[in-house]
Amino acid sequence: MSPKTLYDKIWDAHLVHEDEDGTALLYIDRHLVHEVTSPQAFEGLRLAGRAVRAPERTIAVPDHNVPTSADRAERIDDEQSRIQVEALDRNARDFGVTYYPVSDVRQGIVHIIGPEQGWTLPGMTVVCGDSHTSTHGAFGALAHGIGTSEVEHVLATQTLITRKSKNMKVEVTGQLPPGVTAKDITLSIIGKTGTAGGTGHVIEYCGEAIRSLSMEGRMTLCNMAIEGGARAGLIAPDETTFEYVKGRPHAPKGAQWEAAVAWWKTLRSDEDAHWDKVVTLDASEIVPVVTWGTSPEDVVPITGQVPDPESFADGKAEAARRALEYMGLAPGTPLSEIDIDTVFIGSCTNARIEDLRAAAEIVKGRRVKEGVRAMIVPGSGLVRAQAEEEGLADIFKEAGFDWRLAGCSMCLGMNPDQLSPGERCAATSNRNFEGRQGRGGRTHLMSPAMAAAAAVTGRLTDVRELS
């Protein structure tokens, strides 16, 4: 047998049919559904008189539109949002899929609760009408976003019509220095390869630095594979993975657990597998980074300066000028002199328990700088409960943070948590596009510890000064 990559192995294990021209029918093990991209898909099923083929493989949760305020179970003021959430309530009930409504403590961001509940397992195929489905690749699952027509197709057939991508390896050698996190790795990779660097590829992340990451860190890394242009990101499952999965509500138990682990252990790229593209980074050279512009590839070390647009080659100079104008920044300004108004710690990139612990460690015994609006939005009701139990919530509240309910929140301007025009935000989310966090809002992406440091000082800050 010819050597295979991890991606090749998962692909082969899910192939139902393949045409000569490469068009493939791939079986889907888990289908995650949220309120924004699913209504027309369910409507399509109704019009055609079709059922959901495998409701037991389909998990629905409202997250994008829901407010994160305490009274949200009683009311959602925005009519469009309310209608979309109500439609999901009804569709989940009518079609019999597993559902976590806003009133359920297990509700949260779809990419956080999938793994948390043990729905996402190594070697699976996972899709969702949402580009950050790549998050689940942290488990060694082939996971990516799909469009509304495809959502309907998966609901009706439990398969996806697709074509195979190319194999790309991103190796991060050595060990990370103190104060440097998975978020810094993922931003540094995008800074190096660009937002189109992974186009047409599925990335496998490997190397010592990746193996040393916790599952939370691996999810942060794979979450932003899509910002690097890749179809999906993958990390081969290992003891860290099995440890995380074991005992989760929907993880296999007993003899099935043993059988599953035996198969999962085969899920690794063969020694001499073929790679279409290889990128290597040295972990010891990675430093805490932030973004300065309106693309996730606009990455600089926190110790650096706002770049000069003229320093960029060809087309990028014009884009950089435009980005700096939008961001209200002058070339040459040291990053650490940029004041912020808002801090958002949340999103499917960085709202798991470990992220909150990292932020609390910086915040403990300090206060949010006066005039700064700082919010913590746990990724799920269970993360929130655990943080309360561990005393993290008290640390945040005493420091002056707003402690909110789970949801996508200020990651995107679709619910009441938004930036006002011109407001500048230190954010742990994944996109800094114009208007992403609210019209005219200015976003700097960074790790939870860095965002916490910014909350305390009121400006972009090298977390290593505080820890």
């Binding site: 079986y27 209504p39 079709r50 699976m124 509304t148 197709h153 599953a260 198969w263």
Partner: protein, 201 residues
């Protein structure tokens, strides 16, 4: 998906080039939860004035073209975004066929997914058909997909090309889902195999 075999209907002339998806259906309708009911918003900005009243001169506001099921229009129809709301709006209004010298690529694909036949004909022939269409109820056009021909009011035949696979799907009313369901046996066999090999999935 509805089958498309042979259609004899009133055609509405819309002699504009580069009609984009925003003109076909504007952004404010994208927050909807439905794909039906968008027909009232079709060509919203051309069809209604600022008060929401019908613009009397717009072709789809006039008899007999209110009942048009065919649209004859200019080049590069459907350019702009990839949103499926554009064919959803056309279909909901009742348009089953659009005839133009050229179409934007994604829109062209999306039409087939939604039971609408896009027909590409040379500019001169589209002009002739638009002339026919101006006669309204006195000049019904026929579109025969099986024979791949549009028949004008005077009996003139205009042959057209269509991708054989897409033609087959439209004639049979097969969408992607219908086609995949045609492989239900293979899907079931796969499921049975995995249930034995990896029962925890």
């Amino acid at each position: 998906m509805k089958k498309f075999e042979r259609l004899t209907a009133i055609a509405a002339p819309l002699p504009l080039i580069n009609v984009d998806t925003d003109m076909i259906i504007p952004k404010q309708y994208l927050k909807t939860i439905k794909r039906t009911g968008l027909g009232v918003a079709l060509f919203d900005e051309m069809r209604y004035d600022a008060n929401g009243d019908e613009v009397p001169d717009f072709v789809l506001n006039k008899a007999p073209w209110r009942d048009a099921e065919i649209l004859a229009t200019g080049a590069n129809f459907g350019c702009g975004s990839s949103r499926e709301h554009a064919p959803w709006a056309l279909e909901d209004f009742g348009i089953r066929c659009v005839i133009a010298p050229s179409f934007a690529d994604i829109f062209h694909n999306n039409c087939f997914k939604n039971g609408i036949l896009p027909v590409v004909l040379p500019q001169a022939q589209v002009d002739a058909l638009m002339k026919d269409a101006e006669q309204g109820g006195n000049a019904r056009l026929t579109v025969d997909l099986e024979k791949q021909v549009v028949i004008g009011a005077d009996g003139t035949e205009y042959p057209f090309e269509v991708d054989p696979f897409k033609k087959h799907c439209l004639l049979e009313g097969l969408d992607d889902i219908g086609l995949t369901l045609g492989r239900a046996n293979e899907i079931e066999a796969y499921e049975a195999r995995v249930a034995a090999e990896r029962p925890w999935v």
